[in-house]
Structures are given as structure tokens and as C-alpha cells.
């Protein structure tokens, strides 16, 4: 049986003409797993741009490949295992839902290196990485407080996971630093990716008189609504200025490429170690799109805040901060610990919503 399999494989290889295999083998393989399509115009595309940056940077040393539209669950485990078996030296699994699958495959292939985005489980050959999106959202909050005529904004939110709740709180915290009476409405659409639903939510908010919207969902639909209704909005994941040339104030742009290049470099020079990385504006895994459609003083304020966050002078979650019900959370001058942020499941004061339980 084994012989037969071998013969089949050999003939298949002959048919396929694996002539290019030899030259490709000299290169280090770096692989990616995406939950969406590499052209989804949102989250997965941002990671794919990062992959392309790696490919460009190390064109002669590294070969990159990816698997897209991988469902979370048993399919993820198979997809990651396939990459591990196909000779990838470093595998980035880019969605939270791939966490357990990555852990399992990493245990099975100790010689392959793994990095999982936005999760909390790690191992000797499994690192984690995430982006401090909340730093950007603090700036958005400040801009919103300066821009809104009725002391409020609407937040189109996907799912009540800590990542999203943290973003909402950071936005509100930024807004309150300018305008203590600022009210943030939150609307849950229970999807990352449904332009129709996101547009409906944006319209519903505009119909209720909101004049600034921000989103933690992936399509440009809310930005289009903002443009059409002559209000302001913030882009998410990528610069959405094309969808809202008059509406976009700025956008939080995922620039994973800088991180990926750093890690692949470490892989090539042998210094790669499994680490838990949580980079932010300073390290350049997220960048702010140009500040547009706002007066110069607001722009100046935003740039100053950005600089302060980068230098470490300002931490968005610095006390005194009360929880939504008025009970104290952080004392004056106290900074939130990373652990508390990563598991955040409560709102701070000023968020006008009841957190889904």
C-alpha cells in the first residue's frame, strides 16, 4: 500500500512538474491564515497588505502564501496544519477564532513557529500579537467632542467582546477629556461584515439626530451614509477617505506590515522568540489617516495627543475613571493594567448603553 501511494505521489509530482520546487525550497516560507477573503476591503485585506509588505521587503529570501476564507473551528485546525506541513517556517493566524486551533497545531509541530493575533494563549513556539487600537480611538473621541454640535456620537459596534468594549470606553474617555457631558450611543449590529446592516444602523443613528458616527465593523457602508447625510465619521481598519471625502475626520489604519517585517527579520537572523506583543501607535502597527475636514485647532489638538501617546506621556486609561454606574474604577493618576483592558467587560461613565451580557 505504501509503495502504491509512493508511486502515485511520484507520478503526480512528475505530472505537475515540480521543477520550481527546488528554487523555492531555498527561500524561507512565511504563511498566513485569513478568516475573510484577502480582498474583503477590511480586516483580512489589512493583514494581506502586511503580507505583501513582507514579500516586498524580503523578495529574495522569503516566499509568502496564505489560505483565505478559513472558517473558525475544525477547518482552521486543518488549514493551519496544512501550512505547517507544506514547509512554512512561520505561520501567522490572524483571527481570534483561530486561537485553539493554533494552540493544537503548534503543540504538534514544535519546529514550526506560530503567531496568533488578538488571542491570549501562547506556548514555546507560539507567540501572540495585537494592536493597541484603543490608542487611536482615544484620539477619535477627542475629535468627536470638538466636532459634535450636540455633545454626542454614535458607535456602530459588532460584538460585545473585550476588544470592542475597550474601544468604546477609550473613545468616550477621549471625548470626556474635552467635554465631560459627552454622551456616546452604542448600537450593536451583531456582524463584522454586512454593508446593508451597517448602513441601516448608521442611518438609524443619523435619523435620531447624531452628527458624528464611528464604527467597529469592517465595511465602508457607515462612512458612505455619513457622506450622503452630510455628517462626520471615522474610518476603521483602512483609510476610508474615498468613501467619505467630506465626511471622514480621520481613520484608524491597521498597518500590520511593520510588525510582520520585524518578526520575519527576527526569524531570518535567528532571534525569533515566542513573545506576547501588544504594540500601538508608537511601534506603527496602527497609524492615523490624515486629519481632514476639521478646523486647524482641532487638527493641532489631535496631532498633539497622538504625539503624547507615542511618547508615552499619555495613557488613554488614566484615572480618575468611574464605571458607568458611578463607582470608581481607577484612582487619580492610576493607569489601567493591560490585563484589565484585555478582559474589559464594563462601560465607563458617559456611555449611553446597557452592555449586553
Amino acid at each position: 500500500m505504501k509503495k502504491l501511494t509512493f508511486a502515485l505521489a511520484a507520478s503526480a509530482a512528475a505530472v505537475l512538474g515540480f521543477s520550481s520546487a527546488a528554487s523555492a525550497a531555498d527561500k524561507t516560507k512565511v504563511c498566513y491564515v485569513y478568516v475573510g477573503s484577502h480582498t474583503d476591503g477590511g480586516y483580512s485585506q489589512a493583514h494581506d497588505l502586511g503580507r505583501q509588505q513582507v514579500q516586498k521587503e524580503f523578495a529574495d529570501k522569503v516566499e509568502t502564501s496564505y489560505l483565505e476564507n478559513v472558517p473558525e473551528g475544525p477547518d482552521a485546525e486543518r488549514a493551519i496544519e496544512r501550512l505547517a506541513r507544506s514547509g512554512c517556517s512561520l505561520i501567522f493566524s490572524t483571527s481570534f477564532g483561530f486561537m485553539d486551533a493554533t494552540v493544537k497545531v503548534a503543540a504538534k509541530f514544535p519546529k514550526v513557529k506560530f503567531e496568533h493575533a488578538t488571542g491570549y494563549k501562547s506556548g514555546p513556539n507560539l507567540g501572540t500579537y495585537n494592536s493597541r487600537f484603543y490608542e487611536g480611538r482615544y484620539i477619535l473621541g477627542q475629535i468627536a467632542a470638538k466636532t459634535s454640535k450636540n455633545h454626542g456620537a454614535a458607535y456602530i459596534a459588532s460584538f460585545p467582546i473585550p476588544e470592542v468594549v475597550m474601544g468604546i470606553n477609550s473613545f468616550e474617555q477621549g471625548a470626556r477629556s474635552i467635554d465631560p457631558s459627552f454622551k456616546l450611543k452604542v448600537i450593536w449590529v451583531n456582524t463584522w461584515f454586512d454593508p446593508g446592516k451597517e448602513a441601516d444602523a448608521a442611518k438609524a443613528m443619523v435619523d435620531q439626530g447624531v452628527d458624528v458616527i464611528t464604527q467597529h465593523t469592517d465595511t465602508t457602508a457607515p462612512m458612505q451614509v455619513a457622506e450622503q447625510r452630510n455628517i462626520h465619521a471615522f474610518g476603521q481598519a483602512s483609510d476610508m477617505i474615498a468613501a467619505g471625502p467630506h465626511a471622514q475626520l480621520t481613520a484608524i489604519v491597521d498597518t500590520w506590515g511593520n510588525y510582520y517585517v520585524k518578526r520575519v527579520k527576527a526569524l531570518l537572523d535567528g532571534s525569533w522568540k515566542a513573545e506576547q506583543t501588544w504594540d500601538g501607535l508608537k511601534e506603527g502597527v496602527l497609524t492615523m489617516a490624515p486629519y481632514t475636514n476639521m478646523p486647524d485647532d482641532v487638527k493641532k489638538m489631535a496631532e498633539e495627543t497622538e504625539a503624547k501617546i507615542k511618547s508615552g506621556e499619555l495613557h488613554p486609561f488614566t484615572g480618575p475613571i468611574n464605571k458607568q454606574d458611578g463607582t470608581p474604577w481607577l484612582k487619580a493618576g492610576e493607569k489601567a493594567e493591560d490585563g484589565a483592558l484585555l478582559g474589559m467587560n464594563f462601560y465607563i461613565e458617559g456611555v449611553d448603553d446597557k452592555l449586553p451580557k
Partner: protein, 361 residues
Amino acid sequence: MHIELEKRAAMSPAFSILSPLLALALTLVFGAIMFAMLGKDPVAAMSAIFVEPLLETWSLHELAIKAAPLILMGVGLAVCYRSNNWNIGAEGQFTIGAITGSYLPIVFYDWHSPLVLPLMLLLGALGGALFAAIPAMLKAHFNTNEILTSLMLVYIAQLFLDWLIRGAWRDPKGFNFPVSRDFAPEAVLPAIWEESGRAHWAFIFAIVAAGLTWFMMRYTLKGFEITVLGQSERAGRFAGFSSKKMIWFGFLFSGALAGLAGICEVSGSINHLQPAISPGYGFTAIIVAFLGRLNPLGIVASGLVLGLTYLGGEAAQLSIGVSDKVTRVFQGLLLFFVLSCDTLIYYKIRITWTRMRGGVA
């Protein structure tokens, strides 16, 4: 050109065997053309999709994992469809089965007993059956179209699971992320042959379910009843069969198997509950059921073939760099050819090149 069909007196045994092969051949030809148009080597593409996944042991295990839920659900649906009841909500019953089956390992997580696993499977099947009972009851008593109610219930089941995982069943040690606690070892469906890969008992259940169902359809009175009522409600009534009872039977049977598939998937492959547990298995199973010509043994084959195209599509993404959409188009092609070639089994096809006569078309 004009195509006419003429019904055969009996279904053609030759074409029963030939039609799937013909369909496969046509798919290969059209697929090859499509890949060539995309600038890919068609032979390499076909080999990546249909041959390479079968050459490695681990990949065969993965095939068994992928095919198990499709076969389990496909078999249940086939019985339901044979009885002329149209349950297209297997996806929802799969979800609810996964939830009810997970009740023990999540809520009574510190109860360690060899009884846990059998009870889980039972609860899963029960949950799926009860959820399928809703469209059955609505059809039997209110005459409500079951295609639509069972479909609507899919969305409801998924949102319910979502609510549960983000709320009551969230892992207390999971940093508030939407996953349940991990199942204890005795709540995990064991692997069939652990040394060589991760395929688990769900595949055995699927094969057994297919075998038993085949036996039931062929040799028992129940099977006869299903066939008769499915072909003609009136004839069935003359034979003393109740179509109302058959609605219940068809839905409970397919619901139970879908529920079993759900808990098997969660217990054997995922080991905890999470918001996304199925990449549309319940809908793919409908296609599997039809590809297998509603015959339980045929469904084993069609489940494996469809599973193969998923695995092969993934392999092709890596080895020849085709997009994942190409795979879906390719699957669509395969289905269309199989469905159209099946016509040959029941009909003779006559193609006339002259213009048709006026009047009756």
C-alpha cells in the same frame, strides 16, 4: 435545436452508474477550461483538488472529519425528503444539538463519569429532534410551509447560540472572550486511531447511520411507508399510512441526526462551544443528500466527494495559488453537472435539430 425528454419505463441501471461518472468527466473538462482561462495549469489544478488530498494519511483523517457531519445530516435529510417533507433547516438543528449536547460538560463541568459522553450524544440528538419538531408541528397542525419555517429557525438558532456564548455559558476564565469552557477529557469524542490523525468517532457514527438507514429504507415496513407516502399521499392513505405521522417522523429523524452531528462536531473537533461552529454544513448536507440520490449509501460517497473538494480547494490555494472563490465555482459546476446527468437515469433525451412543429411545444 430542440431537446425532448421521454420517460423510461423503469430507471436505467446502466445510467445509474454512468451518470455520476459522466458528470464527473464533464466537471473535469469544464473545470480544466476554467483553470486554463485563469492561466493555471489545468492538470495541476485537478490533481491538487482530487488526487493530492488522498495521498497522505493525515489528509485522509481530515477528509473523514469533514465528511462525517455531511453524511450524518445528509442521511437524515434523505429520509425526510423521500417522505416528501422538506426540512432545509438542518443547520439550525445542528446548532441546537450542539447546544443541548454541551449542557453537561459546560454546566456540570465537574461531573466526571464515563456516562457523560453517551448522555451528551443523546441530549444532542434529542435537542436537534426537538428543534425540528417545531416546523413539523407547524406543518402538521397549521399547514405552514416547512421549507420556510425550518429556514427561519436556522437564524434563530444561531443567534441563540451567540447569546448563550457571550452570556451565561462564557468561560469564566476566558477573559470575557466569546468561548465556553473547554470540555473535560471524558466529554471529548475519542479519536478512531490516534497515532495517525485526528479523525474521531463521528465518522463511524455516520457510516453506521448510513448502513442502518439503508437497511430501514430497503427492508422494513417503515421504509416502504416512507417511499409510498413520499410518492403519493393518496396511495399512502389507501395503504393505511398517515401522512401527518410521517411529517413528524421525517423531521424528528433528520433533526436527531443533525443534532447528533452537531454535538459530535463540538465534542470531537472543537472541544468547546463558540459562536461559529459550522461553515454551513447543514446547507451543504442538502446538496450531499441530492448528490447521493437520496440513497444512504450514495450519500456516503457524495459526502466524501464533497469533502474532498473542500480539502482539495484548500490545497490548490497553496500549491497553485487559485483563489478560494474558484473552488466554490468549481463545486457549483460539479453540482450542476450531477443534477443534469441524473436526468439520463429516468429519461431518454432526444435532440432534434429541425425547428419544432408549431402548436404544442
